[in-house]
Structure formats: C-alpha cells, structure tokens
Symmetry: C2
Subunit: 371 residues, 2 copies
C-alpha cells in the first residue's frame, strides 16, 4: 500500500504491494490476505469457466482460461495477492508420468515410479513441456497490469515440494497411509534420494522459469511433509526443499522475489523450517501463531492459519475467529511479518459470501491493530 | 518382570508386569512393547477367526472370538501387554446410532447427530448394551491367568475420546475434511459441548466398567484430536478427555490402574496433554522422543512412536529404526518411563515375521541400554 519503500529492497510497481512487503518484513498498513485455492470450485464463475474448458487440466493448460480463473476471486474480494491457477503435479507430468484426473477422484499417474528402472529414467524435464504454465504466468501478469505497467497485486507462482511430488509419483495418486512411498524410502533410501534430487532440481528450474515469466513471489507446497517421522522429515523433505531454495532466484530484474514454504503438519519442525532460507513459512491451524512468532523471532514472516472450516460458521462467528487469529499473531512490529491465509486450501463447499467477511475483517481489524 | 515392586504402588500378580511398571515410571529390566491394533488383519489367524465370526462386529460381540483374537499376537510375539479386541465406536452404537461396517469401507452410523433434536436425545447409554465388551474383558483376563491367578501380561481396555466419537457421530462415518463436525462446532458450540459432555460421561462409565470387569490399564484414543485448530483442541478435545480422566478409577481392588491418552497429531500440545492427569501420553512418529522427554520431564510416561511403515523395510533396517527410536528416548532413569509402540495402528499389509524383529529388538536393545 505504501508507495515509498522504507528500505533499499526494490519492489515492483504495484497499486497494492502489501503482500510483498509483509513477506519481506517491511511495514504495511494492514495485514495482507490471500487464500490457498482462492481460484476454485467454491466460485460459480470458476465452475462455469472449467465447464467450458472441459476439465481441470483443460483449464490449467489454456493460458486464457487459467488467467480468467486466477482473476475471478480478485474481482469479488479485496485480496492482496493473486496465485497462478495450476496444479502441483505439472512437473512429474512433464517428466512423462502421465497425469490425469478421473471425474470425482484425485490425480492419477499412468506410470508410477516404483523400481530401480523407473527411477533411473527420471530426469529434469524439458521446460518446453511446461510452457503452458509460463504462458499462463505472463498472461496473468499482463492482465493484472494497468496501462502504465502498474500491477493490481503481486502474482505468486508455485510448485509442489520434492517430497510431495515423490509421494504422488510413487503412490501413483493420493494415499491415506503413504505405504508405497514410505516403503521405498525405508527400504531403498538410495532410490528415494535420487528421486528427490531430480525433483528438487526440476522444481528449482520450474520456479525460476516462472519467475522469469513474471511470478513476483514463489511458494513451495510441502503438502505431505507432515506425514513423515521426525528425522525422516529433515532428511527426505526439508533437505530437498532447501536444495530448491538454494537454487532459486532471490532477485529478478533487480526486484526482490520472496520465497514461501508451507509444510502442512510441519508445526513441530517450525524452527528448522524457518532456518531453511525461506522468507515466509506457512502454518496450518494446529499451530499457535503467538507461540510460533516467539519461536521464529525476526527470521521469517509467518503465513496462515485459519481453519478453512471456520468459513462454514455464520458471519459474526467468522469475524470472531479471524480477529482471534490476528490477535494471536499480535501487532506486527518492525522486522516481523504476517500474511493472513487459511491453514489449507479453501473448501469447495464454502459459501462465497463468507469469504468477503474474512477478507474485510482481516483488513479492518489489522488496521485497527496498527492504529 | 520384577516380582518385588520397589515402591508401595500395588500391582496385580503378573508373570510380566513391565508394562504396568513403565506406565507408572517404576524401573523395568527392558522397555515394554505392545502395538496398536496388534490383534488385526495382518495376522492370518485373525482373518480365519473373523471369517468364522462372519464380520468385524460379529467378532467384537462374541466374547470367545474376541478373546481368541486378543491372544493371537501374544502367542506369536513376546509382547508385554494385551489389548482388548473391540472397536472405538461401541459407545455411540450403544447410544442407538446404529453402527455398521460395510465391506471394504469404514464404519457408518445409520443415525448421525446433526441437529438440535438429535443432540437432545443423546444420553449416557445403559451399560447393559455394552455387556459384550465387559464379558470379553473378563473372558480375556481369565484366559491370560494361570491356575494360581497369575497373569501372563496385563490387559488394556480402551475407548475413543469424546471428540473422536463426536467426529464419527456427526459425520456419520470417516471423513477427510471434518466439515460437518467442525461446522457444528464453529456454528453451534453449545450443541457440540452438549455432545461432548454426554460422550465424556459415557466414556468414563464405560472405562470404569471395563476396569471392574478386569482391565488393568485403560487408554483413550483421541484419534482425531489432531485435526482441530489450536484453541479448539483445548476446548473441544482435551477438556473432555480431562473430564473422562477426572472420573476414572485410579485404583481397583487396591491395585493401581494406569491411564493412557493418545492424541494422533497432538505433538504440538504435548505439554498440555501431559498436564491432563494421564499417567502415559502416546505419541505419533512426528514427535522427537528425546525432545518430548525433555519437555514432559517426570510428569508422564511416553508411549510410542515408530512409523508403522518401517515394518515394510527389511529386517536389518527395522532393527536400525527400532534402535534409533529407543536411543532417541534414551536410557530410562528413575522416575521416567517409556513404553515402545507404533505411532499409529499396525498396517494390515505388514509381514507378520517383521513384527518379531521389532519386538525382539526392543527387548534386546533396551536391556543393553540398561546394562
């Protein structure tokens, strides 16, 4: 919101730069807010666009349609960031594993990676196969810009984490016990490390190419890091997230690009994740934001962490829970930062009007906190 | 293992009392071990008995069959405790909600509790409807005893926690987002508190009646406490687990009955759970046992916490992971206690021979730690 950065960190020209500022622990006039899966099935306009595109991947691979759904929630709500509409599994699909989405089911890979031969064949994919993603990024960036090249809000690019991609690649789809991927991990750690190394280098290249295409911040979704045992998390998830982070561009065209890491169920490892090199650490709703802030100090900005199910309560109750979350973090002080979000993706059953209550309460109450 | 208790705590006559001693932080010659769901589908003899009984509930409601499957793992492995074969959902079934298990699916309730009228009808059930459970307890106790009345190992009774029962009662079965139960909780906390109060008083009565029937320790499975937000966990799960614990018999016939609480995904709240009044706190594999021990000090014994998927690795790798877990807790010292277990129920796909490796390694290595 502030036109004059208070430090020498260079930010892009934006009508609303509160999200980037909070990511970098610069002062903001309000706590910025965006929602994981904000472009999604709970919006009737999203469902209409998806129906025209024929399928989820039809939508993700059509830059105009992906741009359209990315912007839909911004037109309804006063969100402080846009996030690329895409899937976390585009990278293994580009590796040739054959991603598909059966109706009513989760993602499936036609060629799961379960043995030495399949692992040996893995390689960092040709980014040309992911051109549809980069085209979507640049199309969205253009659509967000006014005639002077000033963006409405920043655009976030993203990828699944190396471990989370590996879960899907080995299981061949979703899982409730992670038996196959953990069996490979415990039985053949050499193969698992090889998968994760290829994934990390692929994700780093993928995110850097998103940055070159116009992404102004990037996020690594470690959706399944929390299913790992203590010790295994550090060795098989966090180490490879760090391998991604260490390769990511911190600047592009002289502008600072914040890096966000979100490990669902990773609250017990917060301190280690905060030392990973990320600018922002996402938290799910099991974490006490005040305690988390005390734990990480000024190392990172925290992002989160309302339970998405709060959005099924009535408006007054939603207001109370949003205020409780903001008060739990407390008033941002010099060098600290909070980005409001849910602790996981928004539910497809969410009443759209309830999202306005959330977004407006975040802005109102966080301004009041600063007053 | 010790025939002469070193304190004035009275324990039952047992050939192997290491489990009860560890629960009460008394010295033991080895770290005792049992496995959640140790009587289960991974054992061919279990599947044979279940097939004779016709179904899971057919098995649970037949005291002879329930006794048979409870003892099966003790005949294969040098386990230090038996656990009643039953289901966590017997209590809401006795409340009249109509529990069933469709083939290949999880539990279902015919009459889920979703509105004011359904909540108003809830009451602590007549324990006569759960007589089959108490009959199974006394049958198992008899089968565990020799002619002098000395038991092989202690028998653990159990129940679901008030919150975990409420999840199933409101959702009507399993869930992956807990949308219905959380909607009720956020929207109508008055109704949720009423359900939980009835559940807590029912669970307390149920466990006390198991104790009277012969259970020598009791465990509350808060399987779904970990899905709650910080704040909601304390108000809607832990408060009602404490309401159960505060009503439980600590002694029966002059003998001390340890109380165990296990909240899957509760690692962030360990300190609060350790203050709940339980003797033992169960931990899943995401928790670092050494850090947990440092956190709880001498307040409680810790139970856990190997990832069940380790049992899919090869024997040498299983040994390494078991030793790693024991070393993570460290050598038990005066006033501390560790009960080895998995961090969740054993998988139905586990090779039975691998369980021997786990149990034998726990005994060997924990004796070596003490030497």
């Amino acid at each position: 919101m502030s036109a004059t950065p208070t430090t020498s960190i260079a930010l892009p020209p934006l009508a609303n730069d509160s999200f980037l500022r909070a990511c970098l622990r610069l002062p903001t006039e309000h706590t910025p807010v965006w929602l994981m899966r904000q472009a999604g099935r709970y919006l009737p306009e999203y469902r209409a666009t998806r129906d025209k595109a024929g399928s989820f991947m039809g939508l993700a691979t059509n830059k105009e349609a992906a741009c359209e759904v990315t912007l839909q929630p911004l037109d309804r709500y006063a969100l402080d960031a846009a996030i690329l509409f895409s899937d976390i599994l585009t990278v293994p699909d580009a590796m040739g594993l054959g991603l598909s989405f059966a109706a009513g089911e989760g993602p499936k890979f036609a060629s799961p990676v379960r043995d030495e031969a399949a692992v040996a064949k893995l390689a960092v994919p040709d980014m040309g196969k992911l051109q549809y993603v980069f085209d979507a990024v640049s199309t969205i960036r253009k659509a967000l810009s006014d005639e002077q090249g000033v963006g409405r809000v920043p655009l976030i690019g993203f990828s699944g984490s190396p471990w989370t991609l590996a879960c899907y690649m080995v299981e061949g789809g979703g899982s409730d016990d992670y038996r196959l991927v953990k069996t490979l991990m415990y039985q053949r750690p050499d193969l698992m490390h090889r998968i994760l190394a290829v994934n990390a280098d692929s994700v780093a290249l993928y995110l850097n190419t998103q940055i070159e295409a116009g992404a102004q911040a990037v996020m690594v979704f470690d959706s399944w890091g929390g299913v790992l045992a203590d010790g295994a998390f550090q060795a098989f998830s966090l180490a490879y997230t760090q391998r991604v982070l260490s390769q990511l561009k911190r600047e592009h065209n002289g502008l600072r690009i914040p890096h966000i890491v979100f490990t669902k169920g990773g609250g017990l490892w917060l301190s280690e994740i905060a030392d990973s090199g990320a600018d922002v650490v996402g938290l799910d709703w099991t974490v006490n934001l005040g305690r988390a802030r005390a734990q990480v100090g000024d190392r990172v900005t925290l992002q989160g962490n309302l339970d998405p199910n709060v959005l099924f309560a009535n408006p007054e109750q939603i207001r109370e829970q949003v205020i409780r979350t903001l008060d739990s973090y407390g008033k941002p002080s010099a060098g600290s930062g909070h980005v409001f979000n849910l602790g996981h993706g928004i539910s497809q059953f969410t009443p759209p009007a309830h999202v306005s209550v959330l977004v407006d309460t975040v802005h109102e109450h966080s301004r009041a906190q600063r007053a």
